[in-house]
Amino acid sequence: MNDFLVLIQEMLDNLGIDFRLEIVVEYFPFFLKGAALTVGVSLAGIFIGMVLGLFIGLGKMIKFWPLRLPFIWYINFFRGTPLLVQLFLIHFAVMNLILEQPNTIASLVVTLSLNSAAYVAEIFRAGIKSLDKGQAEAAHSLGMNKFQVMRYVVLPQAFKRMIPPLGNEFIVLLKDSSLGAIIAAPELLYWGRAAVGQHYRVWEPYLTVAFIYLILTLSLTYLLNYIERRLDTE
């Protein structure tokens, strides 16, 4: 520990606060490694979830009901069962059939993507439905086909309205990635738990981990605010 930390430790001791900084220092490299994985897994989950979610959301809006049904039940399942159960199912049952060598990180990314796709689908649907029908009708009357109406008129406007709820979803997803600790994917909470396991002290590791999660979610919040401002036309 360097002098500065020793000084803070002394200050804490004098205040009667039982907080051992050396545990935080010892595990800090692991926390950083874990945070990097948390960010990576979340970004992958957000990206894949958005792409999948767009198609599922559009699928749920198909007028012919037998075609609509699978999309409805996809959303029902992933929104209606606990994420931890989905993670266990996907890691211990589904990924086994796909991958020769099971990989906890891959399982985590797949679970987060599939789960967030269900929520994102509903957000997309809400965004598209919220637009005045006249917009699409006007575009049609200009001679645009269905795809062009979606691509150039509806989606760009709907997307702006979807940013706040999408931001919510991203933050939830980032925090939910901590469930990976249960199947021993070495993300941020996994290393927090490892530190607790070694020292049998809960405050130092978990407070540090909470603080790092907070930094990550706050950064995401500011980024989303920035995007929202950039896209604001008024």
Binding site: G16, I17, D18, F19, F30, H91, F92, N96, Q101, P102, T104, A181, I182, I183, A184, P186, Y190, R193, A194, V196, G197, Q198, Y200, R201, V202, W203, L207, A210, F211, L214, Y222
Partner: protein, 289 residues
């Protein structure tokens, strides 16, 4: 202006975190103050006046470690539970056994929310720094469980393999002694049960855990095609004890009752019931000294 707002926001966050830290430690502070505050003094005295038998002891366990403690149709059962019952009857205490989980149990003991913990807890020096222990009530060693066909004959073979352990257990210590602390080849699981699931799944190639748990798993899962070996040279024998908060006054009472239970043959009875073998009680009593 926006910039200042976010700075203020960050500041508030820090204050909030520090308050949390302070809250977490205030419990300890109270129990540390001795005699300086007259008010707290009088409450402590009145608590001491109550006859001790009336107090229901709060005991914590992590009931996911068959056959020592596990849930059977909603009730906590196991070797530890029966030993605890015998010891508490002997010592004349009322008690309540609660399934609180492994990590929370340590936290609660540190905060003195629990009177003691019974959960196949190995007595070691690391833990002795923060907690007190009873005399030993069980001797254990570690075992390596692996899928049939893996070429593992000793602990040294673990090097380079993917190993699973339960987080915060001595199985973890034993494995880390061989491949290095927080080595990337070690995966730490919530419970030993999940580690075994990961072994069957192929996430890991070996599980290091206490011998009785390993035997139980091998016996109960003939389809899992696993083998278990021990390595007396690399894995030291260890003893389980009841774990108390530091400086607990209960330790002497419980120790005396435990010794009686072992000497009276009650211990051997329970041991045979769970493990089907005679215990080496002399070894246990010697280890106590």
């Amino acid at each position: 202006m926006k910039k200042y707002l976010s700075l203020i926001y960050l500041g508030l966050l820090l204050v909030g975190l520090l308050t949390l830290v302070a809250c977490g430690t205030s419990g300890n502070e109270e129990s540390n103050t001795t005699g300086s505050d007259t008010e707290s003094d009088s409450t402590e005295e009145s608590a001491a006046d109550e006859p001790e038998e009336k107090k229901v002891l709060q005991i914590g366990t992590d009931a996911a470690f068959a056959p020592f403690e596990f849930m059977e149709t909603g009730e906590i059962v196991g070797f530890d539970v029966d030993i605890l019952e015998a010891v508490m009857v002997e010592a004349g205490y009322e008690y309540e056994l609660k399934n609180v989980g492994w990590d929370p149990m340590f936290a609660s003991l540190q905060q003195k929310d629990l009177d003691f913990g019974v959960s196949a807890i190995t007595i070691n020096d690391d833990r002795k720094a923060t907690y007190d222990f009873s005399t030993p009530y069980f001797k254990s060693t570690h075992m390596i469980v692996f899928n049939e066909g893996s070429d593992i004959t000793s602990a040294a073979d673990l090097e380079g393999l993917k190993i699973g352990v339960q987080n915060g257990t001595t199985g973890e210590d034993a494995a880390e002694k061989i491949v290095g602390e927080n080595s990337s080849t070690i995966s730490k699981y919530e419970t030993t049960a999940v580690a075994f699931m990961a072994l069957a799944n192929g996430d890991i190639e070996a599980v290091v855990t206490d011998n009785v748990v390993a035997d139980e798993y091998v016996a109960n899962n003939p389809d899992a095609k696993v083998e278990a070996i021990t390595d007396e040279e690399s894995f030291e024998a260890e003893y389980y004890g009841f774990m108390f908060p530091k400086d607990s006054e209960l330790v002497t009472d419980v120790d005396a009752a435990l010794t009686t239970v072992i000497e009276s043959g009650k211990y051997a009875e329970i041991y045979k019931e769970w493990f089907g073998a005679e215990p080496n009680t002399d070894e246990l009593l010697n280890a106590a000294e």
